[in-house]
């Protein structure tokens, strides 16, 4: 008798049998998932810059450079680009020098077509010839409906865990469900970003911001360049960055906003080219260069803009960069009141601290005079973001804005997760302002990303209510329960940074330091340098604390960056580009694709 049920069962049994047989067969025949073999890294004698597997926006300008290390000076360097002599391909003469470090360089070139590119270099020396080939990509990826504006938020050092601390403190959690998500978490797209530079597994902020700004990897402490072997911090081969591109090809406006010195690595990398991020006086004056002059500059660090004769200046010359901006028609704001009064001019320079701006807790919560001194009227990152958007959005051609929450990193270095978290929340509220602007017009891509991670992780909670202290008061698993942060006034910031049950945040790497899990009234370094060695700072835990023996070299007095991948969230036209695991240089390619930029265009 016909029984349909039986038949389906039978079919499924047959299917399972077939699958089982296939699996057995594949195992027996050695068919498995194959992995590409790879070799341990080695430094080639022929260093080609840009590096192998570099990716370019079509028409993006760069300096092409080769360095050849040899025992005896090279006698010839032959370079073929897609089979053509490089000088013919680029239509420019190369400058070649023969030495034990021979160099070959053609400045300011670009790939005129989207394509795959092969560069073959042959070097002749007394000992014979040596060859090296690298491959480039100039992708053709085109977006249907481009974005008019891009706002890039960089939470410096804002790891996944840093975001989560902000979520716990800002939104709270009830019976295991978060009461809400952060603004930066309520976005359509999520990707994981790898952060290494071309020289090292672990990046710094210059190097990683440079990847976002240029689409090219750089080196620790460098921005907008491939680091060559010379000492000069200004001669390294350059790559065109995002501010230069939006200005040159489309006449868009550009802005940089940061709570750090505005000449600090992340904002600086949006526009500058140098091997050495500490050249902050140079970076300040580079902001005047029309090639990459931001229309809006808001942040701290006026000391690099003041002539050396003004007390508080760190310049070594008498240039008054603030005055030079004034002459270019920039209104100047030096405190929150003046920023409010500035309204919406066409361009704006706001510098609100001689050094880094103070962090949110000190500025807005405790308002501790011992910390703030005379700087009692600093704007928030929200104020600065809102003003920047208002000013930049006057340009009908669109704008690129970078906003940095800088002290998330600076406070995690100091192992002060409470101060870091308030600053993460501050940046999240700035993201909320940008989202509101984007909602009105629907033509703005917003990206929120970190530049690298820190080794901070949430172990559970911490309290001393039962008399336990130190490690015994770290509550784990079921004992953790919930921290008792509260936000009664609903401003998004917990009312008290030091509730009776706080988070137990522990660090994967640290110098010798004292830990008591409590909020510090005044920012205090975990360790200090003494005789070239980092030693625990006794000021760190005035109420007493456990000494944690350091697990990184004693030459470093702070917690250091970790190599962990970092989350990126995005929303708006072009956000679809961001998914899965991506290299940090892809952030740039996502931006230029969203804007539909073409490096071959020149603005009219």
């Amino acid at each position: 008798m016909y029984n349909p049920k039986m038949s389906v069962l039978c079919l499924s049994r047959c299917f399972r049998l077939v699958v089982a047989l296939l699996v057995v067969a594949s195992l027996m025949s050695g068919v498995t998932v194959s992995y590409a073999a790879y070799r341990a890294p080695e430094v080639p004698n022929i260093n080609i810059m840009p590096i192998d597997r570099a990716k370019f926006l079509v028409g993006q300008k760069f300096d092409f450079a080769i360095e050849v290390k040899s025992d005896t000076p090279a006698s010839a360097i032959e370079v073929l680009v897609n089979g053509k002599k490089a000088e013919t391909f680029f239509g420019k003469q190369a400058v070649v020098k023969f030495d034990n470090m021979s160099t070959y360089r053609i400045n300011e070139v670009a790939f005129p077509q989207t394509s795959k590119v092969t560069v073959a270099v042959t070097v002749k020396t007394e000992k014979g010839t040596e060859k090296r080939t690298v491959n480039y990509e100039v992708p053709a990826d085109k977006i249907k409906k481009p974005a008019k504006n891009v706002i890039l938020f960089v939470g410096d050092g804002m790891s996944l865990q840093a975001r989560q601390m902000a979520r716990i403190l800002s939104k709270g959690i009830t019976e295991g469900k978060y009461n809400d998500l952060l603004e930066m978490e309520k976005m359509s797209n999520l990707a994981l970003i790898t952060t290494s530079g071309n020289d090292s597994l672990v990046t710094d902020s210059a190097n990683s911001a440079s990847a976002y700004a240029t689409g090219h990897k750089s080196t620790v402490n460098a921005m907008g360049v491939y680091a060559d072997s010379t000492k000069d911090p200004f001669d390294d081969p350059k790559v065109e960055n995002i501010i230069e591109l939006v200005k040159r090809t489309r006449g868009m406006s550009a802005g940089i906003v940061s709570t750090a010195n505005i000449t600090d690595a992340t904002p600086a990398a949006m526009l500058a080219h140098t091997r050495k991020r500490s050249e902050q006086n140079f970076i300040a004056q580079e902001m005047l260069n029309p090639l990459h002059r931001p229309d809006v500059i808001l942040g701290g660090g006026s000391r690099h803009f003041l002539p050396k004769s003004v007390p508080g200046s760190k310049r070594s010359d008498e240039r008054n960069i603030i005055e030079e901006f004034k002459e270019l028609g920039y209104p100047i704001a030096t405190n929150k009141t003046q920023l409010k009064q500035a309204g919406t001019p066409d361009k704006l320079l706001g510098l609100f601290q001689l050094d880094n701006m103070d962090v949110y807790v000190d500025r807005e919560v405790t308002k501790n005079p011992a910390v703030l001194g005379k700087f009692t009227d600093q704007p928030t990152l929200m104020d600065m973001t809102k003003t920047a958007i208002n000013v930049l959005s006057k340009n009908q051609k669109g704008f690129f804005l970078m906003v940095e929450g800088a002290s998330i990193d600076k406070q995690l270095h100091a192992m002060d997760w409470q101060r870091a978290t308030y600053d993460t929340i501050e940046m999240d509220k700035a993201v909320g302002i940008a989202k509101e602007f984007a909602k009105k017009n629907g033509d703005t891509l917003i990206i929120v990303v970190a530049d690298h991670a820190h080794g901070a992780s949430i172990t559970g909670t911490y309290h001393e209510k039962d008399g336990k202290t130190g490690r015994e008061a770290v509550r784990i698993y079921a004992d953790a329960g919930w921290p008792t942060f509260a936000d009664a006034d609903g401003d998004g910031f917990p009312d008290n940074p030091n509730p009776d049950v706080t988070l137990a945040v522990q660090f994967a790497n640290h110098p010798d330091y004292y830990e008591n899990e409590k909020f510090l009234d005044v920012p205090t370094s975990p360790a200090i340098m003494a005789d070239g060695k980092a030693i625990a700072n006794t000021k760190r835990a005035p109420q007493g604390g456990d000494l944690k023996v350091g697990n990184i070299p004693a030459s470093d007095p702070s917690e250091v960056h970790s190599a962990d991948d970092v989350p990126l969230t995005a929303e708006g036209p072009g956000a679809d580009y961001f998914k899965g695991i991506m290299d940090n240089t892809e952030v740039f390619h996502g931006i230029v694709r969203a804007l539909g930029l073409d490096g071959r265009n020149e603005k009219k």
Partner: protein, 175 residues
């Protein structure tokens, strides 16, 4: 300061400490005394006891500060060229061979990647010595006595910029 220079500093310290210790026996009072650099011919631990050294606090250096610069306080201006006494922490020297160091309000850590040599707070005092700095405790407060100098000055060797300086004739552990 990068890793290499830190290592160099450690290495230099190892060489310098015993050398200076031996070379300075006349100026070391006892085990707990930090060090003395005799700027004058007279024994370093004697002269300032008899003289008035005006006490100065870090919070008294500037009366005005904004993004457009700092203003020396009237008290600081009035003490220019006079003998002052101030307590603070010795920041690690930029190089072990320098005959100056930076006195700060709180113990300092210089982060090699988020900070640079230029990244010092504004309220610092540069302490000039007649000899290079030797091994000193950086984690305990010290009191410096000496003549107050004011105004922009850049150290030729390091490019270090200072506004407030004290030419030290005595340094000791603060109470």
């Amino acid at each position: 300061m990068n890793k290499l220079t830190s290592r160099v500093i450690i290495a230099m310290m190892l060489i310098w400490v015993p050398l200076n210790w031996l070379g300075q026996d006349g100026t070391i009072r006892n085990e707990s005394s930090l060090f003395c650099t005799p700027a004058q011919a007279a024994p370093a631990w004697l002269p300032w006891f008899g003289e008035e050294a005006a006490p100065l606090e870090f919070s008294e250096l500037y009366s005005g500060a904004s993004a457009l610069g700092l203003e020396f306080s009237p008290k600081l201006e009035s003490l220019k060229g006079k003998k002052v006494r101030i307590s603070g922490f010795m920041a690690p020297p930029l190089k072990p061979t320098l005959n100056f160091f930076v006195l700060t309000k709180v113990p300092m850590a210089i982060c090699p990647f988020c900070s640079t040599d230029a990244d010092w707070p504004d309220d610092i005092v540069l302490i000039k010595l007649s000899e290079a700095v030797t091994a000193l405790p950086f984690d305990r407060p010290i009191t410096v006595t000496g003549q107050l100098e004011l105004g922009y000055q850049m150290d030729e060797e390091t490019g270090f910029v200072s506004l407030v300086r004290i030419v030290a004739d005595n340094i000791e552990e603060a109470n």
